[in-house]
């Protein structure tokens, strides 16, 4: 099942682990922060993770040195 990877920007320090684990979802920007390759309605803080990438995303959530990532089923969207 496709899941949503939420990036908490107030915590993220751009250490680059998630971009290594999810190269088809995230790349790094000029300053090292994760950049979602695909935006959902202009939102690039909650990239979708396809079933094949969910395991890697779980690893990224687990290893993120700043605890800036969380993974949730698709229906949980960002606040209005």
């Amino acid at each position: 099942m496709t899941e949503i990877l939420h990036i908490d920007w107030t915590r993220c320090d751009g250490r680059g682990l998630c971009t290594e684990l999810l190269p088809t979802v995230l790349v790094r920007d000029d300053w090292g922060y994760p950049l979602a390759l695909h935006a959902t309605n202009g939102d690039r803080s909650n990239p979708a993770v396809s079933p094949g990438n969910v395991e890697a995303a779980r690893e990224a959530v687990h290893l993120c040195p700043k605890l800036a990532l969380s993974l949730a089923p698709q229906q949980a969207k960002s606040r209005q």
Partner: protein, 417 residues
């Protein structure tokens, strides 16, 4: 910090445009007596969750900038309590922070019609069964609000909180954070405020003008509200007009013709080079034939945002003006989120270079790249609003960009060096 024609709260220049003023019907500095005479008594007891349907019929949208449907926000908060055994009671916050330097309609409203805002807050509180009510206001309007609250008996539950005077202090999660911890910085938005906001309770943050409209809708009904404005943009809205002469607050009908609004503000249209609509997070406009409406984009409508209309005189350079604003916005970053903390200053450096004489043609592409890079990445919409401003400047002032790259300027007599 540089602001465009720094317009202070123009508290004595309240006047309606076409039609009768609604929000300021009680007159200047209205006390409780004038307020009750003008609007009649309010029967709070009759308000319950059923009012949400009335709000839906009215079509009221938020007047704080995002223009999100008000009834949906209220309904989400009312349902945000979930199905827990002892659900936490919601919180309603009247947001009068108004950190936008070009906006002063909320300060003006709170100074002249504080009781209307208080009414709206009490009504919204009853509609969602809230147990805590707050008015979050700029220091400028604090005395008027405190005096109004002190003079009423039905407001025991209302707490007045002083807002920080920063650009982002009015962002909904920054409001919640400020009230909870005293730090007016946005929070991560994984959970909706309508589910978990202040003290973990469902939290409804509504702009003070939105609440004033709520107070009128509760009294006179949704049909009356829809009597002004249009189908796609019912009701009236306050606008802050600045940039030419003293700043003014006007109450205009929804979907108003842009040039009519400027004319009723006494603006000489021949001196208007461009207008910044929606403030520092808004757009530049040259087409004065369009209409002010949050819906109908692309159909000759421009989103008024929080109602800021700032006039750029014909002799001033839009690129320089935008570069100054962008520099302000870069400094206004909460410096919590990397893309905003580093992206906005980078954008500001590039635009400043274009505006002040660097003729490297690649600068424009670089600015466009950076603008795309920051969008949709942050705890709040500060990068998005900034990107919107820059994109509109590059579009509206494209002639000026070309002139600057050739070492001249279409506006200022001073040659770019």
């Amino acid at each position: 910090m540089t602001t465009l024609g720094a317009a202070g709260p123009a508290v004595d220049t309240v006047r309606g445009s076409a039609g009768t003023p609604q929000l300021f019907a009680a007159g200047s500095n209205a006390g409780l007596t004038e307020h009750e005479q003008a609007f009649g008594p309010l029967s709070l007891e009759s308000i319950d969750a059923g009012f949400i349907a009335v709000l839906e019929e009215s079509g009221l949208t938020g007047r704080g900038g995002a223009a999100f449907s008000s009834w949906q926000k209220v309904a989400a908060t009312a349902q945000g309590r979930g199905a827990a055994l002892m659900p936490a009671k919601p919180v309603v916050i009247a947001n009068g922070a108004e950190g936008e330097p070009l906006s002063f309609k909320d300060k003006t409203l709170l100074a002249h019609a504080p009781h209307l805002v208080i009414d709206g807050l009490l009504i919204a509180g009853r509609a969602v069964s809230a147990s805590l009510l707050y008015i979050y206001t700029t220091p400028a309007a604090l005395p008027a609000v405190e005096a109004a609250v002190a003079g009423r008996r039905d407001v025991r539950r209302i707490k007045v909180v002083r807002a920080a005077e920063t650009f982002i202090s009015g962002e909904a999660s920054a409001v919640v954070n400020s009230i909870a911890t005293g730090v007016a910085l946005p929070l991560d938005n994984r959970r909706r405020l309508s589910e978990s906001g202040l003290k973990g309770r469902p939290t409804l943050v509504l702009n003070v003008e939105t609440l004033a409209h709520v107070a009128l809708i509760a009294r006179y009904g949704s049909g009356w509200f829809r009597g002004a404005g249009s189908e796609r943009d019912p009701g009236t809205r306050l606008v802050s007009v600045s940039g030419q002469g003293a700043g003014q607050v006007l109450e205009v009908e929804g979907d108003a013709q842009f040039c009519d609004v400027l004319s009723s503000a006494g603006v000489d249209l021949s001196t208007v080079g461009a207008v910044l609509v929606g403030g520092y997070h808004g757009r530049w406009i040259r087409d004065l034939e369009c209409r002010l409406s949050p819906s109908g984009q692309g159909e000759n409508a421009v989103n008024p945002g929080a109602g800021v209309l700032h006039i750029l005189p014909t002799q001033e350079c839009g690129l320089e003006a935008t570069a100054r604003i962008l520099d302000y916005l870069a400094h206004a970053s909460a410096k919590q989120c990397g893309p905003c903390m580093f992206g906005l200053p980078a954008m500001a450096r590039v635009l400043t270079a274009i505006a002040y004489g660097d003729r490297n043609p690649r600068l424009v592409l670089e600015l466009e790249r950076l603008t795309k890079l920051v969008g949709g990445r942050g705890a709040c919409h500060h990068p998005d609003g900034t990107a919107r401003l820059v994109s509109s400047a590059l579009e509206i002032f494209s002639d000026d960009v070309n002139a600057h790259l050739l070492g001249t300027c279409t506006r200022t007599t001073r040659r770019a060096t």
